[in-house]
């Protein structure tokens, strides 16, 4: 199965994911994930291996809360993102880091810009995606976005999906 997962295919998926988020096509974005998937953002500067069970994160969504996050972001009562921010995601430095129990671990670097109310903030860091092949299609089993920053002083919030 792993033989079928190439870097090029992973890049295609990560670029597709970035585009769906940039275009605010959140249901289609969620459909990239397998049921039971998780999405996590540890605090700025955290080590790659921190666990949300014993450490405070910004975001540690199980499947239910990830679905609810998307539901929330679609509402015009999600005030931080309504009116919506504009954003752009750059993904690069894609590497296959090997397979483990959750799938193929794919590392990438990201820069995400968020612009609203005449202010533009930048989030930078690295993603760790676990990707799996489901009926020939690459899907996301877990996504962790690690911020390579000191703090969120300038950004203030992670109300978008990185």
């Amino acid at each position: 199965m792993s033989a079928a997962i190439t870097r090029a295919a992973c890049e295609d998926l990560l670029y597709e994911e970035a585009a769906l988020l940039d275009e605010w096509r959140l249901d289609e974005w969620l459909a990239l994930f397998v049921e039971g998937a998780t999405y996590e953002v540890p605090t700025a500067g955290a080590a790659d291996n921190v666990q949300s069970t014993d450490t405070l994160f910004y975001i540690a969504d199980d499947w239910h809360r990830l679905c609810q996050r998307v539901e929330r972001l679609k509402k015009n009562t999600a005030h931080s993102e309504f009116p919506r921010s504009d954003g752009l995601r750059l993904v690069s430095n894609v590497r296959l880091l090997g397979e483990d129990g959750r799938g193929m671990l794919v590392g990438s670097a990201f820069v995400t810009y968020r612009s609203k109310n005449d202010r533009t903030e930048c989030f930078m860091g690295h993603h760790r995606h676990h990707l799996v092949l489901v009926e020939g299609r690459l899907r996301i089993a877990a996504k962790r976005s690690l911020l390579d920053m000191n703090s969120l002083r300038a950004q203030g919030r992670v109300s978008i999906i990185l």
């Binding site: 921190v50 405070l56 999600a78 931080s80 703090s151 919030r157």
Partner: protein, 432 residues
């Protein structure tokens, strides 16, 4: 101000009219550099300011560095275990002597010219004879400067830059007993959990202060959070009763401190069980509540277990004992910008499964990625942005519940207690 007496009723910033039941605050108080200067001088340089929790430096020689009230501080334990707070600046020519966020070290060495200090602050460098007189450090000019006052209550450490300030306990007034309701949740002590949320808001610090114990905004600002609870099986017990005068209240805790206290639907690890946590957790949470009742009697025990408290300790410490416990402090960098540090506090001996639920609870509501805090940030920034209109529309209204003898948690009594103290302290800086 010419010709007017300084005091209640004469304030340029706070207008309270008891007869009309109105309370107004000038929007300029959120935007002016001159106000921030007065706040630094009369509030942040004179009040007790939270520096950290004892569990953050549990061992001898542990230290951390932190910005507190516009200063760079070292908060540490020396070789004998005594707790200190030093200004993080080299007595030589001013570089920071500790530049890591935290660590364990017998001393600190300035990297600039190499002066070294024991972790009790004393100069500890042998410099070749002939460079300085033999009694050079006789008056301590080569030692680290200690913060003038450092005191603690139940593991919460505070500094004061005013040598003549009253003691911490006197300052805390009725807020001390509310801290106790948090500290007493564990028989072996409470601890700050790993992971700090350090973020910023483009708004005046007093906007975050008001927001931190504002029951009035919950239903509207956080509509999506309550949608989420409704969509999450087994996430709710009792109804949210912010406006029920009999079961919720807004309280003046003295010296500008205030609190709202109310029942709410969400689960509380200590100790309000929700179905989503499962049957095993139920036994544990119920046992916890029984134990609180055994230790503290039914009234205080049930209060600790079932009621939520959002407390502001004047001027900038928030301890919210809600779906989890958040300890949050913030400081203005400019009139229109603040820096927040937020932690979560938990019982030291908490079972791993309960700790997991506690953190899960925290993140569903609180912090930069929660389902609620980002919308608070949006509201605060929206207010700050609109205060540019203050010349034509100059006053905030903080009158809600003034006619009531016992204000509820969705009234604004607790904010009025803050503003009265703020006004009193700033008034002290105005020449009569």
């Amino acid at each position: 101000m010419a010709g007017q007496a300084v005091g209640r009723g004469a304030s340029p910033w706070v207008r309270e009219d008891g007869a009309q039941h109105t309370f107004r605050v000038a929007r300029d108080a959120f935007t002016q550099d001159s106000i921030l200067s007065l706040e630094r001088e009369n509030i942040f340089d004179r009040c007790w300011i939270y520096v950290g929790h004892e569990s953050e430096i549990p061992e001898r020689n542990d230290y951390l560095t932190r910005q507190v009230a516009g200063r760079e501080l070292i908060f540490n334990r020396d070789r004998g275990g005594a707790v200190h707070a030093f200004l993080n600046i080299c007595p030589h020519r001013g570089a920071m002597v500790a530049r890591e966020k935290k660590g364990n070290a017998l001393g600190f060495q300035c990297f600039y010219h190499g002066w070294a200090f024991n972790n009790n602050g004393r100069f500890a460098t042998q410099i070749a004879e002939g460079n300085y007189p033999p009694d050079f450090n006789a008056q301590g000019c080569a030692n680290l400067t200690e913060v003038p006052r450092l005191e603690s209550h139940r593991g919460f450490w505070f500094v004061n830059f005013d040598r003549n300030a009253c003691g911490l306990i006197e300052y805390l007034a009725d807020a001390a007993a509310i801290i106790d309701l948090v500290a007493d949740q564990s028989e072996v002590g409470m601890e700050i959990v790993g992971g700090t949320q350090e973020y910023g808001v483009q708004a005046n610090w007093k906007l975050l202060l008001e927001n931190s114990f504002d029951g009035y905004h919950a239903i509207t600002t956080h509509a999506t959070y309550f949608d989420y609870l409704a969509n999450t099986a087994g996430s709710m017990t009792q109804p949210l009763l912010l406006g029920d005068n009999n079961r919720s209240r807004g309280v003046d805790l003295g010296n500008g401190h205030g609190m709202v206290e109310y029942p709410a639907p969400w689960g509380r690890p200590v100790a309000q069980w929700i179905k989503a946590w499962g049957e095993d957790a139920k036994a544990e949470v119920e046992a916890k509540e029984r134990r609180l009742v055994e230790l503290f009697g039914p009234e205080r025990g049930h209060r600790m277990a079932r009621l939520n408290r959002n407390m502001v300790i004047f001027p900038n410490l928030v301890i919210n004992d809600i779906m989890a416990i958040t300890v949050r402090t913030f400081y203005p960098t400019t009139p229109g910008q603040l820096a927040v540090n937020a932690w979560t506090l938990a019982p030291k001996n908490e079972a791993a499964e309960m700790r997991r639920w506690r953190l899960y609870n925290f993140l569903e509501f609180l912090g930069p990625g929660g389902f609620a805090t980002p919308d608070d940030v949006e509201a605060l920034e929206s207010c700050q942005r609109a205060y540019c209109n203050s010349r034509e529309a100059g006053w905030n209204d903080i009158s809600k519940g003034m006619m009531k003898s016992s204000p509820a948690a969705d009234d604004e009594a607790q904010m009025r207690s803050f503003w009265r103290e703020w006004d009193r302290r700033l008034g002290a800086g105005v020449a009569p």
